[in-house]
């Protein structure tokens, strides 16, 4: 058996590669006889192969643990995160936070994240070294349900030089999943920090649709998205981020389906050509309306102005 203190002492001496190899042997926690609450760990030798990254192998090992042992590993990881020192190898720190993303330590994650981010934000040299870890830390922090503490951490991080567009996108998705009804507020909150519309990644658009609940809000469009992401970006998301436009979110019901007109704005109504363009977008976004339905839709588009139009 090896105690946690001994483990940490060893980690301090070892290179990143060595510790990952060590971890890859598998970590299993077991109670010391007579001390069931101890953090004492037992390392069970497991497979080790260059054919697979060590952390992945560790995960395989953890899969074999029973529930009690698994909980002990999560506690041990929380303590490892809290034991961060500025002299640590950044790749090792990043590896530990990668584990935190998957294992979700039961306590202390935001405190550890705050500690690390706070220190490196005040020190350029540390910032340069550990900036590579911050995105993983954000993913780990956002792996938990939303809390005030989490909001404060993200708010603080947003004001640092460590903030990136990828973090902004990740946080938007997290907030939307927490409260779908406010999805537009969240997107707007980060609009300035997101990439320019033309450069928005396809994956973000897709995940945003899923987070919002594509079937409800973007009925039809969600399905189309998989075939033509750029189309969706052009018609739905780009105007959101265009400062001079306003997203009105007009809902249109046709039969049992609800449509949301993506980008209708006052100035657009004055231009028949643009109106036609949006109609075209609506039509192409789902199953094309035919016959009477198409005619009614044409009338609806021609008379746009109300926030909600029902066609039964």
């Amino acid at each position: 058996m090896i105690g946690l203190e001994k483990l940490i002492a060893r980690i301090a001496q070892w290179s990143d590669e060595e510790i990952l190899l060590w971890l890859s042997r598998g970590v299993a926690a077991a109670a010391v006889p007579g001390d069931p609450d101890s953090d004492t760990l037992v390392f069970r030798p497991l497979l080790l192969s260059r054919s697979e990254p060590p952390l992945q192998q560790l995960h395989f090992a953890l899969d074999r643990l029973d529930r009690v042992d698994f909980e002990r590993v999560r506690f041990a990881l929380a303590r490892l995160l809290a034991a961060w020192r500025t002299s640590d190898d950044p790749r090792f720190v990043q590896a530990l936070w990668s584990l935190a993303v998957s294992l979700k330590p039961p306590a202390g994650v935001i405190e550890a994240a705050n500690h690390l981010v706070g220190r490196i934000d005040q020190n350029d040299a540390l910032g340069d070294r550990f900036a590579v870890c911050v995105e993983t830390i954000v993913v780990a922090v956002l792996g938990f349900p939303r809390t005030d503490q989490q909001d404060r951490f993200m708010g603080n991080l947003r004001r640092t030089g460590l903030w990136t567009r990828a973090m902004a996108r990740h946080h938007v998705l997290h907030l939307v999943r927490d409260d779908r009804s406010r999805w537009l507020d969240w997107v707007k909150m980060y609009a300035r920090e997101l990439d320019s519309p033309g450069a928005l990644p396809k994956g973000f658009a897709r995940q945003l649709i899923h987070a919002v609940g594509g079937d409800l809000i973007f009925s039809g469009i969600a399905y189309r998205t998989f075939e033509d992401d750029l189309f969706w970006l052009r018609t739905a998301l780009m105007p959101l981020l265009e400062a001079r436009q306003r997203w009105d979110g007009i809902e249109v019901s046709i039969g049992e389906k609800t449509w949301v007109v993506a980008t209708i704005d006052g100035w657009a109504f004055d231009d028949p050509q643009i109106c036609e363009q949006y109609f075209d977008y609506i039509g192409r976004a789902g199953i094309a309306p035919l016959g009477d339905e198409q005619h009614r839709l044409e009338i609806m588009v021609a008379n746009l102005g109300n926030k909600r139009i029902g066609l039964q």
Partner: protein, 337 residues
């Protein structure tokens, strides 16, 4: 600590994780000439030197000893003339006209993606944040698997993707390849949902656990066109970090490639456990005509190495004995000055 070859072989038999399997594979390599006694001598001496540094009373001795032996292979020992001697690629073979395929998990693929690069950015966006940043990229759906393969094909060349990591001495780590025609035949006759699992078992990829997505990389160029700097039948040294490695193969193979351990055959205790053909070569660049394809997701846990691997290595008619194989290694070492 063992101070003699006898002591080392004893240690392999009793105190090293997977040590008996290493011993049997060495003996089989000696028998068919894939391992020459001079290199084995060098290996044994280097192992003894490394093992001397480990405290026998350490509670982790079994694992540390295996690590020490692996490190001998990964950091080549130096011979009496002061030259470093690579233990990998010990059994070189000529490049045949085959087209080749290599398989890897999403975790492995992710570890190879250069950062920053367009490929990394596109994959990061395609995969959920947890999948990319976490340590457990498993259980993706087939749609995402195919999307990832498409992204690799679109961006792999531009982003200078290599199919193995490049060591500090600028030499690519080995990749394990199989013949495309053979692997395709196996895939074609397997139901789509079982293909990744079957490929894992057929190629003896024991590190592929349940839920692992499997990706194939197939080159449209034949081996001679790929111009591998080295091409070898894998020996125990190439597979030193792989507890499912098998050297011996059935006498009907008809080529010089190695044969993996087929898990289905091993679990069924069949005498012939030959899986697919395998060879090792330095990992090429993706732009050498490679196309990535998504095979599927592994649906079962792998065959545990103990006790099946040793049983499969020993299986023959008449049965082999570990003591005799150990003596075979001792004798080979004793023949050297």
């Amino acid at each position: 600590m063992p101070s003699s070859i006898d002591g080392l072989t004893d240690l392999l038999c009793t105190d090293v994780l997977g040590g008996q399997e290493i011993l049997v594979n060495i003996a089989d390599g000696l028998d068919d000439g894939s391992i020459d006694p001079a290199r084995l001598q060098l290996f044994a001496r280097a192992c003894l030197a490394r093992l001397d540094q480990i405290d026998r009373a350490d509670e982790l001795f079994e694992t540390l000893a295996r690590n020490a032996i692996m490190s001998v292979v990964f950091t080549p020992p130096v011979d009496e003339a002061g030259q470093s001697v690579s233990l990998q690629y010990a059994a070189m073979i000529e490049a045949s006209d085959d087209h080749v395929t290599t398989f890897m998990t999403l975790a492995k693929l992710r570890s190879l993606v250069p950062e920053p690069s367009r490929l990394a950015a596109a994959l990061k966006e395609e995969m959920r944040g947890e999948l990319w940043s976490g340590s457990d990229p498993r259980f993706i759906n087939d749609e995402m698997g195919r999307a990832i393969a498409d992204i690799v094909n679109e961006e792999g060349t531009e982003s200078h993707l290599h199919l193995s990591k490049i060591a500090q001495n600028a030499v690519p780590y080995p990749i394990w390849i199989t013949r495309s025609t053979t692997s395709k035949a196996i895939l074609d006759k397997t139901e789509p949902q079982d293909r990744a699992t079957r490929m894992r078992d057929w190629l003896g990829l024991g590190y592929l656990d349940v839920g692992s997505p499997l990706f194939g990389f197939q080159s449209d160029r034949s081996l001679p066109s790929l111009r591998p700097a080295r091409l070898g039948r894998p020996t125990v040294w190439d597979g030193i970090d792989h507890r499912w490695f098998k050297h011996r193969r059935s006498p009907h193979s008809g080529d010089r490639w190695g044969r993996t351990m087929d898990f289905e055959a091993a679990v069924a205790c069949r005498a012939d456990c030959d899986g697919g053909p395998e060879a090792v070569m330095p990992g090429p660049a993706f732009d050498e005509g490679f196309t990535c394809f998504y095979v599927g997701t592994v649906r079962t846990v792998p065959m545990p190495p103990t006790p099946h691997v040793l049983a499969a290595l020993m299986a023959s008619n008449p049965p082999r004995q570990i003591a005799r194989l150990k003596q075979r290694v001792v004798d080979a070492l004793a023949d050297r000055p």
